[in-house]
């Protein structure tokens, strides 16, 4: 599936057991330090430094901690976590075990989105394998190394990709994000400290621990170390999962995947931003274009109003619905754009919608609501004539 002449780390060669063995050779705090030194950022979208999160989690005192692998890959146009679980499951499982060792957790849960239920049997078999063939043969000092992994299913709720929503969902509740603080590393699954990382983060960790932070630091940019998987879809000749060094130019990516006649690109999924030709020379890295996992390409035949409505319909349905700016805000953005389309509202109403976006970005309760304005503002900005003056 991977076709690029890419820098392979995450999708590269890996000897099962090499990561966790390297981890167990050192102290837990050394593992945490290694992840901090690597400069790895969480691959779930927010880009928070992973090592820091691990340190916070390691510092929490508790009789029980849980590692959660966020496999609720719901961002439209994203399928790289599925790819990893299908093709490199051992790295992911091992990464979870490394995290468990580092922060002092002996249980891991993979939260797999409900739509991927068909992957369950193979995943569970892989877990059995790694427990039998790798974990059971390891020791921490004189004690046997133990790390249990279970798979738990979602049931169709995009918002459960948000870490607190995911935890609530596991806790047997509606997947509604909570107020922070306290954070999941303080009070998460079963109200105990919980470390949530993305599938890709765990896979990357296995390599970092195997080969060291120094090696990892050679890839990427100053503020975005390493590589990243991208799910590329839409109007391209070669859709698929690609691994690129962070800092890669969008234009190079588009060329590689055979994007022609490109009108715009949705970078970072629906919750990311829309860019056109003038931004193609920007790079995919922290602080530049959002390095989320999804890149959707639209060619010149595509109607951007339809695209925008599709995106807003998605958010209007997938908001958890608890906070006002997200629940009603997404609905009003969609309704507003439809009213402008039909001529029921004048173009001046667009300014009100932009004001609404400012409030949503400033006051929504979680990342979902905070990011809805991004696609709205970028698409309407890029295609004012096409969308507002048709």
């Amino acid at each position: 599936m991977v076709k690029a002449k890419e820098k392979r780390i995450i999708t590269g060669k890996f000897t099962p057991g090499s990561g966790i063995k390297a981890a167990l050779a050192g102290k837990p705090e050394e593992v945490v330090q290694e992840v901090i030194d690597s400069g790895l950022r969480g691959k779930g979208g927010a880009g928070f430094p992973a090592g820091l999160k691990w340190r916070f989690a390691a510092n929490e005192k508790s009789d029980m901690k849980t590692i959660i692998c966020n496999a609720d890959e719901g961002e439209p146009g994203t399928f790289k976590d599925k790819y990893l679980l299908d093709n490199h499951p051992m790295k992911v499982l091992e990464g979870m075990a490394i995290a468990g060792y580092a922060i002092g957790a002996d249980k891991g849960i993979i939260y797999l989105r409900g739509e991927y239920a068909y992957m369950l049997p193979s995943l569970e078999k892989n877990i059995e394998d790694i427990k039998k063939n790798v974990f059971s043969k390891l020791k921490v000092g004189k004690k046997k190394f133990e790390f249990d992994i279970k798979v738990r299913l979602g049931a169709g709720a995009y918002v459960c990709g948000e870490e607190f929503a995911l935890i609530e969902s596991l806790n047997g509740n509606r997947g509604e994000p909570r107020n922070k603080p306290p954070f999941p590393i303080q009070k998460g699954y079963l109200e105990k400290p919980t470390l949530v990382n993305n599938v890709e983060t765990f896979a990357t960790v296995s390599h970092i621990i195997e080969k060291g932070a120094l090696w990892f630091g050679k890839f990427g940019t100053k503020s975005s170390k390493g590589t990243k998987l991208f799910s590329i879809s839409g109007d391209v000749k070669y859709p698929g999962v690609y691994e690129f060094e962070l800092g890669v130019k969008l234009r190079d990516v588009l060329e590689l995947v055979g994007a022609e006649n490109t009108k715009s690109v949705q970078v970072g999924g629906f919750s990311g931003i829309n860019v056109t030709e003038s931004s193609f020379d920007k790079t995919l890295a922290h602080g530049d274009l959002p390095a989320g996992g999804s890149i959707i390409v639209f060619n010149k035949d595509r109607d951007m109003l339809k695209v925008l409505k599709n995106i807003l319909e998605f958010f209007e349905e997938e908001s958890c619905g608890q906070c006002t700016p997200c629940r009603e805000g997404a609905y009003q953005l969609l309704k507003g754009i439809k009213m402008i389309e039909k001529g029921e509202k004048s173009i001046r109403y667009y300014k009100d919608l932009c004001d609404l976006c400012a409030t949503m970005k400033d006051s929504a309760k979680c990342g979902l609501g905070l990011s809805i304005p991004s696609p709205f503002l970028s698409i309407t900005n890029n295609f004012k004539d096409e969308i507002l003056y048709r």
């Binding site: 107020n179 958890c320 006002t324 629940r327 009003q332 009213m339 400033d362």
Partner: protein, 599 residues
């Protein structure tokens, strides 16, 4: 005490305990922050996003109700950015709220409308709901729900699930389809609702209300063939003033008597009298139970005995602990006892055919509406109580009739069955029934008044969640020899969540008391679901003070010393626990369980 942390609010420095919210720091600094989903009685939700503030060092605005202070903070509450966000979120709430304010029961007392006014809302920024989308749920005798007014603040959910542990409401669906629903979209009447009305008291809009019977009451007042008798409970008297602009805790009993007579009620009676009657019956029942358990070792008789005057509590136990109904006192509540006595003994006294009598009970309670409609409540041969009227409805009736309390003279209750003792009065506060009962039971058993200064049994007073006390019975009267040396253990719980703690212990077999008072509502009846809105811990305390003051001022402070009660037994009932008492004043309960029956 935990660490104190400095917070700077708009330049004003205050100190709050670590973990306190930014909102509470703002309150301390005297800075008002608008809220919709926040309520002082409830858990944090942080969903309406109206209380947003700027916190230095944070990228986004923060909900002050949900942000805990754990380090020194600098907060700004009135920047343009803050005001714009608040106003915008308010505009969004207004867009999804069906605002037909003229016809709304909360017209004039709506938190959303007040905020719209304070924030200068002069137009709908967004297309808004302008036609009702839902049918109102009016099937329950007590609670009415109008989902069109709902703004998804989840106060009702937090009240019902967290505060009362009743579990009627929950959020359903997601996205813009989110609704606050009863399980499977049933009617409130068909589920575990105990009618406590606490959700009504906390709803910021008119989405929740009580079944209003005032029109029927007006009809009956105007009907020349009918004789309409009002009985008033102590709690409305300590609260109805709030509806007329008096501060909470203002006692207006005697002005209210005058107003109700002018409104056309033929007699105005004091429910405290029936409360005294309840004490006589319940006290006797307690002693009988104790006798059977201690002397006769009768395993079929259950101790502890729970009070049964709170209809919300009664329905709670019927739903959640149907196998433990034997622990409930069989006594009817004062309201129902009074109804039964009015349509029998009193009807005869005043020479009026009971079929022509309508009894109306002014209660702080929404569950009383359900209680008086229970099919079994017809011991007099008629509906014992025809209407349960809430404090709010009474206030509305008086206003409608142009009767303002400030303009009223003071008037006494009607005689014959008129007055109650101070013991009856304190029924309105949590611990009150227990205190009244102990004043009587102790004296019956020992021949001496309770060993408390001025009869005030302070351990059972106050707003603590669960209160306990014990009282050693010594030098008892001859006929109670079997109680000599027994330590009478009692407990008091208010709010069904607290009652649940006791019930779970009962189920586990670890509950060691003889007598337990439970009131479904926080603070007891004075915090009832029919009381003026808003309700807060401070308001409830003020109402409790009013009630205890009135008790101290009443000459007779023990139920058994009320001469009218003695007369009633002598002329009509015989003695407490007599056959006739059982016929008229006692009842039975229904095992309901937690699930609705499929039609």
């Amino acid at each position: 005490m935990s660490e104190m942390i400095k917070v700077n609010i708009d330049g004003i420095e205050v100190e709050v305990e670590s973990g306190a919210t930014v909102l509470s720091a703002c309150e301390k600094a005297g800075v008002k922050v608008p809220v919709l989903c926040h309520h002082p009685d409830l858990n944090v939700a942080g969903v309406c996003r109206v209380c947003m503030v700027e916190i230095e060092g944070m990228g986004n605005l923060q909900a002050s109700c949900a942000y805990p202070v754990t380090q020194p903070l600098t907060v700004k509450t009135k920047t343009n950015r803050v005001r714009k966000a608040r106003r915008m979120n308010l505009d969004l709430v207004l867009a999804e709220h069906y605002g037909d304010c003229y016809t709304c029961p909360r017209n004039g007392n709506c938190e959303l409308r007040t905020l719209a006014d304070e924030y200068g809302v002069d137009k709908f920024k967004f297309p808004h709901v302008d036609k009702p989308r839902y049918a109102k749920d009016t099937k329950s005798f007590s609670i009415i729900r109008d989902q069109d007014k709902c703004i998804h603040c989840k106060r009702c959910i937090r009240t019902c699930i967290d505060m009362q542990k009743v579990n009627v409401y929950e959020t359903a669906n997601k996205g813009h389809d989110v609704e606050i629903q009863v399980a499977l979209n049933k009617s409130i009447a068909d589920v575990v609702c105990i009618n406590c009305g606490q959700c009504v008291n906390r709803c910021p809009t008119g989405a929740l209300w009580t079944q209003d019977v005032s029109d029927q009451v007006w009809e009956d007042i105007e009907n020349p063939d009918l004789f309409v008798i009002m009985q008033t409970a102590p709690s409305p008297r300590a609260a109805i003033g709030e509806e007329f602009g008096y501060p909470p805790g203002t006692r207006v009993t005697k002005k209210l008597n005058a107003a109700m007579r002018r409104a056309g009620f033929d007699k105005v009676l004091d429910t405290n009298f029936a409360a005294d009657l309840t004490i006589m019956e319940e006290g006797t029942e307690l002693l009988e139970r104790l006798h059977k358990v201690i002397v006769k070792k009768d395993k079929s008789v259950k101790i502890p005995m729970f009070t049964s005057c709170s209809p919300g509590w009664v329905k709670f136990i019927e739903h959640y602990y149907p196998d433990h109904l034997d622990h409930l006192s069989t006594c009817k509540s004062p309201q129902q006892m009074y109804g039964a006595v009015i349509k029998t003994y009193y009807a005869e006294k005043i020479g009026i055919d009971p079929s022509k009598i309508r009894t109306v009970a002014l209660m702080p309670c929404s569950a009383k509406k359900y209680e008086c409609n229970r099919p079994e409540m017809n011991a007099s041969g008629y509906r014992d109580v025809d209407y349960g009227l809430t404090t709010r409805e009474m206030a509305m009736m008086l206003k409608e009739a142009g009767l303002h309390l400030a303009d009223m003279p003071t008037e006494e209750f009607d005689p014959v069955l008129g007055e109650g003792s101070g013991a009856g009065m304190i029924f309105g506060a949590t611990g009150g029934v227990m205190e009244a009962a102990i004043r009587t039971v102790y004296e019956l058993v020992t021949g001496r008044p309770v060993p408390f200064e001025r009869l005030n049994i302070t351990p059972v007073r106050g707003m603590e969640a669960i209160k306990e006390a014990s009282l050693k019975l010594e030098k008892v009267k001859k006929e109670y020899k079997w109680l000599e040396g027994v330590e009478l253990k009692i407990a008091v719980a208010h709010g069904t969540a607290n009652a649940k703690i006791l019930m779970d212990k009962l189920v586990d077999g670890t509950l060691d008391y003889h007598f337990i008072e439970v009131m479904a509502c926080p603070g007891g009846c004075l915090g009832g679901g029919g009381q003026p809105i808003p309700t807060t811990p401070e308001i409830r305390k003020a109402r409790a003070n009013a009630i205890y003051q009135e008790d101290e001022e009443i000459e007779i402070r023990k139920s058994h010393e009320n001469p009218l009660i003695q007369k009633l037994y002598k002329e009509f009932l015989g003695k407490p626990g007599s056959h006739k008492s059982h016929e008229l004043l006692h009842t039975h309960y229904t095992k309901r369980g937690q699930y609705f029956v499929k039609d």
